[in-house]
């Protein structure tokens, strides 16, 4: 039987005490266990940053690549072996800064994977610079007079770009986050989770207290399949901030569905011996 402990590694994470990343880590293991997946069936791809270290501490296959580039790696791996359950993890700097264009394109391709951004509104690994999700006026080491820029809204972007599952979680609500991950993995298509992840060292604005005072979980009465309402919900910010599935669209073909070369089975299992190139050479005669 697979349990949460099945995914433990010999080493333990070395994030700072109190870091929101621990919540995401626990939620990930809980989700994988409740999905009944075995470690070898799962691939976690990550970028560079504190969040990007996740694969080292969840016993599955992992690929810890470059800052901002986990999504391309994940899409390649998924096309090569679509039987894998693919999770992608990165920070807000990784995904919304360096890797923004990959994010938009992954949404529109609807690749069947779950992308989780641990959004702490700051660059933590590099010890405290402004991020694309830092609030206007955010004072950081690289914006000592406060950030002059408007933060991006990842949920709105994802819906607009064609993601078919868009949700928001909070590492302070681990079980809720685990459920969102489960739903994301079960969803056929690109599932995107923006996850509030307090950084206890470098973000003194968006603290646990700040989030706890504002977040609420969407209830049954909210219908995430209505795109127009989803946009509205995604814009909700201020005193009340929604958590849960903001948008969901079923039935849209995935990138893998649209790739007939893998309809009969994973690419990696196709035989390589005896490929006949005579017809290609004939064409040139």
């Amino acid at each position: 039987m697979v349990t949460k402990e099945t995914f433990d590694t010999k080493l333990s994470p070395h994030w700072c005490p109190g870091c929101g990343d621990y919540g995401a880590w626990r939620a990930t293991k809980m989700a994988l266990a409740s999905l009944g997946l075995e470690p070898h069936q799962v691939l976690i791809v990550s970028g560079i940053g504190n969040a990007g270290k996740m694969p080292h501490w969840v016993r599955t296959y992992g690929f810890h690549g470059l800052h901002g580039r986990p999504l391309p790696v994940a899409q390649g791996a998924k096309l090569a072996n679509h039987e894998l359950t693919v999770l992608v993890v990165g920070g807000d700097g990784d995904g919304y800064g360096e890797g923004m264009s990959h994010f938009i394109h992954a949404c529109r391709r609807n690749s069947d994977m779950t992308y989780m951004i641990l959004n702490n509104g700051v660059y933590a690994l590099t010890t405290g610079q402004v991020s694309p999700t830092s609030e206007k006026g955010f004072v950081s080491k690289s914006t000592p007079e406060g950030s002059p820029e408007t933060p991006i809204n990842p949920l709105v972007l994802a819906i607009a770009a064609g993601a078919t599952f868009v949700a928001r979680g909070y590492t302070g609500k681990t079980e809720h986050l685990a459920k969102l991950i489960v739903e994301g993995v079960r969803h056929r298509g690109f599932a995107f989770l923006d996850v509030f992840q307090p950084c206890v060292v470098f973000n003194k604005v968006n603290t646990y207290k700040w989030y706890n005072e504002r977040v609420y979980t969407l209830g049954k009465e909210y219908d995430p399949t209505d795109r127009a309402r989803a946009f509205q919900k995604a814009y909700e910010w201020g005193d009340r901030i929604p958590l849960g599935v903001i948008y969901r669209e079923e039935g849209k073909p995935t990138m893998e569905d649209e790739t007939p070369q893998i309809a009969k089975g994973p690419l990696v299992r196709q035989p390589l011996k005896g490929i006949d190139i005579k017809p290609l050479m004939e064409q040139l005669l």
């Binding site: 070898h40 080292h56 690929f63 391309p72 899409q75 090569a80 072996n81 390589l272």
Partner: protein
């Protein structure tokens, strides 16, 4: 451009050897386009500048190229184009024909003019019209193409008949069909694509860029038939990272780009070096810096490719010299990448990638697929303590693929221990670095040595790498006719560098010449670095054009004879 291709194909079908070279500016349509077709009965390895028959669809073409015409050469042009007194040399034969008039009568004037001129050309060289008609049918063919093919054949016939009826057969160049082996008309891109398909490349990504766009298109066109996933991602960063993911998951993968795109790939190149992911990367050079001259040729990226990306990691760099070498080295590249779990960079250039020439079909004997140390679940089950990055004698460690039970690990370009865990310990760093770099010692042992062509015992040595092979070989024939016996050292496998062989050849040379399509003699620098030897003379060309044999011949002869 199509007309030049058809003429080449017609010649190839008749058993003749063809070497084509295209020149076009970086414009979608229009501008001055050239399709140079060289035809002979003997094997050809290079383009030349001279022109026997100039087909000029406008006056500009005559102005630009009349100086290249040989004695007794000819110009086919529209009768409406007026040539002033003495504008062309008196020995040049003029064939004004109603190109526009016929074209307009038959169909879309601009396109049809090509076909009228084609027919006229075939008549002038006294060649087989039926062969032309057949190739036209194939080229335009298909269901929808039927009408187009008919119209074009009609236009060609009109041009053919016009020459026959209005001119005496004074043009001195005749082509005749010869019995010969069937030959492909093939360029470097096609040769590499066919090799990749044969090698079992299952995943191919590229972002369009001259000169590799036609390779992307070739792979895309054949992706369904050969079950290859071919994708055009959002940029070259995604191109290489996507392919890295596919390769990590176990699919043989390849990417193609030119210098600009390669610049974007550089960070990921190091990542796959550190994470030990196999990947074949084609860098088709064109003149830089920046977008430089997008549709022209150069060998300016050598040092960049040899050292691109921060830090140190093993890589293999291969620069084939002609389509046959493109085929065989691409096959090799996949095997080396897999066996040594590292990036293999193939280097070509616009000239090699896009110049079609006749070649006999590739010999597939001895061409195999070696995937190296990839685990099976049984092996993993029997391995108690699987370590993805376990140091071995050869530096190569057993590679498990995602999905295999018992092989779980993290692949990463960040420094790691034997398991793939992040580790910054000094001793571990040395061990992992040594392990990775050790692979090169083993690669070096299996790479073919540079070949020496021509008079092996001569003490006059011409050194070249990659695509300059053809022009150098032809220049050697001119030199020999002049009584200069030279040998040619051709470098194809560039990294790890074949220092011993190069040193040995240079040490036994009285005079040595480095031929490179760049400004700063980059290979001469590399040779110096690895052998301590200096190549005496540099023959360099960096105007965006490939070498013509006479340029090499002239430079060598001048030095040897002192005039």
């Amino acid at each position: 451009m199509t007309a030049g291709y058809i003429f080449s194909k017609v010649c190839a079908r008749g058993g003749l050897n063809v070497f084509t070279a295209t020149e076009y500016p970086s414009l979608i349509r229009g501008g001055h386009n050239i399709y140079h077709v060289r035809v002979e009965e003997r094997e050809l390895t290079s383009p030349i500048v001279l022109v026997d028959l100039l087909v000029a669809l406008n006056k500009e073409t005559i102005d630009l190229h009349k100086g290249e015409l040989t004695h007794g050469g000819a110009i086919v042009y529209d009768e409406g184009t007026k040539l002033g007194e003495g504008e062309v040399r008196p020995d040049v034969l003029l064939y004004p024909i109603p190109l526009q008039k016929y074209a307009r009568e038959i169909g879309e004037a601009n396109v049809m003019m090509n076909s009228v001129a084609l027919g006229a050309s075939v008549a002038l060289v006294d060649y087989d019209f039926d062969l032309l008609a057949r190739v036209m049918r194939e080229t335009f063919g298909g269901k929808k193409g039927e009408e187009i093919a008919d119209a074009n054949t009609k236009a060609a016939r009109a041009g053919y008949d016009y020459i026959r009826e209005h001119f005496k057969p004074t043009f001195g160049h005749r082509l005749r069909r010869v019995e010969a082996l069937r030959r492909m008309l093939i360029n470097g891109n096609e040769a590499m694509a066919i090799a990749a398909i044969r090698a079992g490349c299952k995943f191919f990504t590229a972002y369009p860029m001259t000169p590799i766009s036609s390779l992307l298109q070739y792979m895309a066109a054949n992706g369904r038939a050969y079950n290859i996933v071919v994708k055009q991602p959002e940029d070259e960063i995604s191109v290489i990272n996507t392919a890295a993911g596919a390769s990590f998951a176990g699919a043989r993968s390849m990417v193609a780009t030119s210098g600009g795109g390669f610049s974007l790939m550089v960070e990921a190149l190091g990542m796959i070096g550190g994470a030990e992911v196999p990947l074949v990367i084609l860098e088709g050079q064109r003149p830089g810096p920046s977008t430089g001259m997008p549709t022209w040729t150069e060998q300016g990226d050598l040092k960049f490719v040899l050292s691109a990306s921060q830090g140190e990691f093993p890589r293999v760099v291969i620069a084939p010299g002609d389509p046959a070498e493109c085929f065989h080295t691409t096959m090799d590249a996949f095997n080396i990448a897999d066996k040594y779990q590292l990036p293999v960079i193939l280097v070509s250039d616009k000239y090699l990638a896009e110049s079609a020439r006749t070649m006999v079909p590739f010999d597939e004997r001895g061409v195999g697929i070696e995937r190296g140390a990839i685990a099976t679940e049984d092996v993993l089950a029997a391995t108690k303590d699987y370590r993805r990055y376990r140091p071995t004698d050869s530096g190569v460690s057993l590679r498990s693929l995602p999905g295999q039970r018992g092989g779980e690990h993290v692949a990463t370009g960040e420094e790691h221990d034997e398991y793939g865990n992040l580790e910054e310990d000094a001793e571990n760093r040395r061990r992992q670095m040594d392990k990775r770099m050790r692979k090169l010692e083993y690669v070096a042992r299996e790479l073919p040595e540079p070949k020496v062509y021509g008079a092996g015992d001569s003490d006059i040595t011409i050194v070249g790498w990659g695509s300059t092979k053809g022009p150098i070989l032809e220049a050697m024939r001119y030199l020999e006719a002049d009584g200069i016996r030279a040998r040619f050292l051709h470098l194809v496998y560039l990294s790890p560098f074949p220092a011993a062989k190069v040193a040995q050849v240079l040490d036994s040379s009285r005079a040595s010449f480095m031929v490179e399509n760049n400004k700063t003699a980059q290979m001469a620098g590399v040779i110096r670095e690895y052998t301590g030897r200096k190549v005496q003379h540099n023959i360099l060309k960096y105007d965006g054009r490939p070498f013509y044999p006479h340029e090499i011949y002239d430079a060598v002869r001048r030095t040897i004879h002192g005039h």
